[in-house]
């Protein structure tokens, strides 16, 4: 019996991602933040207002960080060396602060919705 090709598995993967991901997250705009030396890069992110966003946060530090934003109503622990996706609900124009709660002195950033 021939083994399924890698493209077969790729399509299975794509299909299952489609099936299991939230219906609206696929079409959301994507943005990436990295955490390094307990700082966010970029520290300021400009995003369009009124659109649902997909925020990929990559933690390049060896220790865990908690991405926390009361303005955005998000909190998620990101283990060291891992990444996490956060969904940002449509924002009104304005500035939204976020912090890394475990290193609040340095890990600060904001999202500016325009």
């Amino acid at each position: 019996m021939p083994r399924p090709s890698s493209s077969f598995w790729l399509s299975v993967l794509c299909l299952s991602t489609l099936l299991f991901s939230a219906p609206s997250s696929g079409q959301g705009l994507s943005f990436t933040l990295t955490i390094k030396n307990h700082r966010f890069h970029p520290a300021e992110l400009e995003v369009p207002a009124g659109k649902k966003l997909r925020l990929l946060v990559k933690n390049l530090d060896p220790t865990a960080e908690e991405f926390e934003s009361h303005d955005l109503r998000l909190e998620k622990v990101i283990p060291g060396g891992k990444e996490a996706v956060l969904i940002v609900r449509p924002l009104k124009p304005g500035t939204y602060k976020f912090v890394g709660e475990f290193n609040e002195k340095t890990a600060q950033g904001r999202i500016v919705a325009k």
């Binding site: 939230a22 865990a64 109503r73 283990p79 969904i87 475990f102 609040e104």
Partner: protein, 277 residues
């Protein structure tokens, strides 16, 4: 050190308040200290396990493992709090009447203390796992951080315990007749607040719709991350910017538990444990 202490306090606050309410609600019940201790110790062990497997939890359920886990832990606590209150409406009156008398103590031991033990365990586990990761982060930053770590941790923990004690001794000053009514309401509000918070986690995971983005905004008046805000968050479920669905879960929990308490309050059968006095 102070910054560390504030974070530690913020994380232990909820568990500390839950412990004090549980202790007040079980006043006069034999064996309650042991059950609360099991809850705390179990919660700490659970927190260590959750922290150790944080990697896997984060990637579980297509990256939504953490949200679903937190919501589940909260819902389990809500169920246990509800079960305790329903049980209490049936047996609470006799308990208040016989508080302090030795003979009744054995019968009162039948109370579902394990339910409250699970509530304590869940509260310690949820906040504790974050605390473990935070402290581990400081500890691994280098040996120079150890005094910062120990001092901040001790100070934060001490403040949490002090708040818990103040709450407990405030509560037990209430006369026995009314104490269980008060703790009953506190537990009800605790449950409703936890249900609302679970709903917020499920909105974050994009599993539930928000049904109204911001019902009100009191973030300038009383921010969520202030100590008072956190206190009110635990006690009555305060949130500076609630989603519509959070209010829905809050109200639904209150209504469902009150109806259940009403339904189970009337016991048509005579209580076999009570002599005809």
């Amino acid at each position: 050190m102070l910054a560390t202490a504030v974070i530690v306090l913020r994380e232990v606050l909820e568990a500390a308040l839950v412990v004090s309410i549980v202790l007040a609600a079980t006043r006069g019940v034999p064996g309650r200290g042991a059950w609360v201790t099991y809850g705390v110790v179990g919660g700490i062990l659970g927190a260590l396990v959750v922290a150790a497997f944080a990697d896997r939890l984060a990637t579980a359920a297509s990256g939504l493992g953490q949200e679903i886990f937190n919501a589940s832990v909260l819902f389990l606590a809500v169920a246990m709090l509800g079960w305790h209150n329903v049980w209490m409406t049936r047996h609470g009156r006799e308990m208040a009447a016989s508080l302090g008398s030795v003979g009744s103590a054995v019968r009162l031991g039948a109370r579902p203390l394990y339910a409250l033990s699970v509530v304590v365990m869940m509260a310690v586990l949820r906040e504790g796992s974050e605390l473990v990761l935070f402290l581990y982060g400081i500890a691994s930053a280098g040996p120079g951080q150890s005094s910062e770590l120990a001092g901040g941790f001790a100070l934060g923990l001490l403040a949490g315990v002090a708040l818990s004690l103040a709450m407990y001794f405030g509560l037990v000053r209430i006369p026995a007749k009314r104490l269980f009514t008060v703790t009953g309401w506190l537990i009800l509000l605790l449950a409703a607040g936890m249900a609302a918070q679970a709903a917020a986690y499920l909105v974050q995971a994009d599993i539930l719709p928000p049904l109204g983005e911001t019902i009100w905004d009191t973030s300038r008046l009383l921010p969520d991350n202030s100590i008072v805000g956190k206190l009110m968050h635990t006690l009555v479920g305060y949130t500076a910017r609630p989603y519509g669905i959070q209010l829905g879960f809050y109200a639904l929990t209150l209504v469902v538990l009150l109806i259940l308490m009403k339904l189970f309050a009337q016991d048509p059968r005579p209580n076999p444990g009570q002599s005809a006095t």
